[in-house]
């Protein structure tokens, strides 16, 4: 009976997890690029892989793509160990990306598509569709050399998604992109996700992650130091600080009777920040201001940015 339940649980669990990284270690000489990394990636999520330069993100991504193999540990895709045909289900936009300068845009993307196993009969309708969507129809017979940087990046993006992969991996996708194209690619990533693709988004720029990713993992010096949903992690790392803005100044004297500390009063904007031991004290402060007849313009809990969390987590 117990065994049966476990089996059922296992089946449900496998179905939910698309990528499972289990105790993966990769060493270059005496240097640990990845040191016993464990990650579970749920299907249909946008997953942020965060860490400073040199933390081991690209090493991990290369192992998922079977460019290199782990020294120890396993990586499972859809419940199975990585195999030759796994790469057809993965789309990868590397940080170091480029194209053959002397090939035409269309033959270039065609070449990448064939490498990713797109069948000949589906290839051309798919190319037409994508070139149309990204406004490259009139440029498809031009050599890569003759295209603007923005167009080249769009072409690379097309090459990444052309085989309609289940898992998309973007390594620093916005490096070198102007704001217009950054936004375009960001919207595309979200759209791909809504259609069911699971996405790994690797970056060292934390601020980009907060608006896109549902779940993140923090990697530092090859070790996975944190994993969870963005809101859970923020809850874990919050310091119970609140922000209150009213239409009148508050003085330290007004706040004397409350059990609050680390108070910062800013008279220019009629706002204060304070830390509390319990949520209840924050409510009392709020009630006091309301009872005094002041208007509440803003009141919220101050959550740490991922950047702050990262610095704190690394320090720990």
């Amino acid at each position: 009976m117990t065994k049966n339940i476990l089996e059922q649980y296992h089946i449900r669990y496998m179905a939910k997890t698309l990528l499972r990284i289990d105790n993966v270690t990769k060493q270059f000489g005496s240097f640990y690029a990845n040191d016993h990394i464990n990650l579970d990636l749920e299907r249909g999520r946008i997953f942020g892989l965060l860490g400073p330069n040199g933390a081991g993100k690209t090493t991990l991504i290369r192992m998922i793509n079977r460019i290199t193999v782990p020294d120890s540990g396993t990586i499972a895709f859809d419940g199975n160990p990585l195999a030759d045909d796994t790469i057809y289900k993965i789309g990868y936009l590397p940080e170091e990306r480029g194209m053959y300068k002397n090939m035409t845009l269309r033959s270039q993307v065609e070449f990448f598509a064939k490498l990713k196993g797109v069948e000949e009969k589906k290839l051309h309708s798919r190319l037409d569709e994508l070139f149309e969507r990204y406004g490259l129809v009139h440029w498809q017979d031009k050599k890569i050399d003759e295209l603007s940087k923005g167009m080249q990046q769009k072409a690379q993006f097309i090459a990444t998604i052309i085989h309609q992969p289940t898992l998309l991996i973007f390594d620093e996708p916005f490096t070198g992109l102007d704001p217009v194209n950054t936004n375009l690619i960001k919207e595309e990533i979200k759209a791909m996700n809504e259609k069911g693709a699971t996405i790994i988004f690797s970056t060292h720029r934390m601020e980009q992650v907060e608006e896109i990713c549902q779940e993140i993992a923090l990697i530092n010096k090859g070790k996975n130091i944190l994993q969870g949903t963005v809101s859970d992690i923020k809850q874990d790392y919050k310091s119970n600080r609140f922000y209150l803005k009213t239409d009148a100044d508050l003085s330290k004297n007004d706040l004397k009777s409350f059990d609050i500390h680390n108070i910062v009063i800013n008279n220019d904007t009629s706002s204060i920040e304070f830390a509390v031991e319990s949520q209840n004290e924050a409510n009392r402060v709020l009630k006091f201001v309301i009872d005094r007849g002041n208007a509440i313009l803003d009141f919220h809990e101050i959550l740490p940015s991922l950047n702050q969390i990262f610095i704190q987590a690394v320090a720990e």
Binding site: I67, Y92, G98, N102, M103, K116
Partner: protein, 427 residues
């Protein structure tokens, strides 16, 4: 396995198609035969010009004793005249400058008594006496005949004295088989094939290296190795460029043959040619042409494969061509060495050195070509070819180890020690 083939074929066909359609390929492929036509036409035209109007040489021989018969040697643009009197020293100036004789030869009677006959030839300063050797041997024959006649030999005795000497090479193998050695054409074929292999090793080896460096510095390589194993990428590239080089070689052979055939059809060239089309074809058939048709492609390909995997490995360790020089040097040394040693092998094709170098895989592609005209035993050819292709296989495995790590390393140039580590050597 089928995956290996389909991926390698994809890389191969991209490599082949983009290179064959490249304008530089078209330019070099068709420029070389055009260059050959141009050189042939220019040299043909030059000698035609010389024959037509060019340096006419009027020769006068002062032949007091009537030594010289009227059968002068046939030399283009030379005319001979004879004066059966002694040359008067005071006349020489007027002979040359007033009567416009270019060359004045004096055969004084007294000289004919000596064994060593020294004759004086007078001419204007700055006139080179081309065909000097022909004139010299003509006069030697005439003087010899004169002396024989003077000695009053009988006609039979004279016939006995007349002797022609020509050399025919015959070589004996260890098993006692004797075969006629091939002549000039096969010598030229061996020499030419050696040079073709020498240049293609450099040309296409560096083409492979440049391709690898381009992919790496372009950063296109990471996208490709996420769907293809590095060894497939490397082999696809090497084989693709091999196909390009064979295409080019084939075009050259075909066009040069066509040009050659046309050459003999044009009367203008035909007249000038020292031999006829039939003679040329006979010479080719007599030479070991069939042997070259088998062994040239085998060594051409084997040598290319062996060296290009090394060039690919070097290319993978650097990000631009400049940095590759120090590492390319050790690869090119055996190529250059084979080329230099080819000449001494042609002199002495059965020496221990020649045999050794034609079996050693790094020198065999060029050296064996030089030995091929001189009847190489089959066992030596077999050992040499098996060694060449086996070392290609083993070396490719080693090169692939460097390659798969090298192509993903950016920044610092790896030290030789690090490269050895990539190959799996403990240092």
């Amino acid at each position: 396995m089928s995956n290996f083939f389909s991926k390698t074929i994809l890389i191969f066909s991209r490599e082949y198609n983009t290179r064959v359609r490249n304008k530089w390929f078209l330019i070099t492929t068709f420029l070389v035969p055009l260059g050959i036509i141009a050189v042939m036409a220019i040299s043909g035209f030059a000698s035609y010009q010389a024959a037509q109007s060019g340096d006419q040489r009027n020769v006068i021989i002062f032949d007091e004793a009537d030594v010289v018969s009227q059968q002068y040697p046939r030399i283009d643009s030379y005319t001979f005249e004879q004066e059966n009197s002694a040359l008067i020293e005071g006349d020489i100036q007027s002979l040359i400058y007033d009567q416009e004789f270019d060359i004045v030869i004096d055969i004084p009677v007294e000289a004919l008594d000596l064994n060593n006959v020294e004759l004086t030839v007078y001419s204007r300063p700055g006139i080179s006496l081309q065909n000097e050797l022909i004139i010299q041997s003509f006069l030697r024959g005439e003087i010899l005949n004169y002396k024989i006649q003077e000695a009053e030999f009988s006609a039979e005795q004279i016939q006995v004295l007349q002797t022609q000497v020509s050399l025919q090479r015959q070589s004996i193998t260890q098993d006692g088989e004797s075969q006629q050695d091939t002549g000039f054409v096969s010598y030229a074929l061996g020499y030419g094939s050696g040079i073709i292999i020498y240049f293609s090793l450099f040309l296409y080896g560096t083409m492979v290296m440049r391709g690898v460096i381009e992919e790496k510095s372009n950063r296109v390589v990471e996208i490709i190795v996420s769907s293809v194993k590095p060894i497939h990428l490397m082999m696809g590239k090497i084989l693709g460029i091999a196909a390009v080089s064979l295409t080019q070689l084939l075009i050259w052979i075909v066009t040069v043959s066509i040009i050659g055939l046309i050459y003999f059809q044009i009367p203008f060239f035909n007249e000038l040619s020292p031999f006829s089309l039939d003679q040329a074809l006979d010479a080719f058939m007599e030479a070991n042409v069939l042997g070259f048709l088998v062994y040239l492609p085998l060594y051409y390909l084997g040598g290319y494969l062996l060296y290009s995997s090394l060039f690919a490995a070097v290319g993978s360790t650097v990000e631009n061509e400049k940095d590759s020089q120090a590492l390319v040097l050790p690869i090119t040394i055996p190529i250059i060495l084979s080329f230099v040693l080819m000449f001494s092998v042609l002199e002495n094709p059965d020496s221990i050195l020649a045999i050794g170098l034609s079996i050693f895989p790094f020198t065999s592609p060029i050296i064996m070509m030089a030995r091929l005209p001189f009847s190489v035993p089959l066992w030596q050819l077999l050992i040499s070819i098996v060694l060449l292709y086996t070392s290609f296989y083993l070396l490719t495995l080693l090169a692939a180890r460097i390659y798969r790590i090298g192509i993903l390393m950016y920044g610092k140039k790896p030290s030789p020690k690090e490269i050895l580590k990539w190959m799996g050597v403990r240092v």
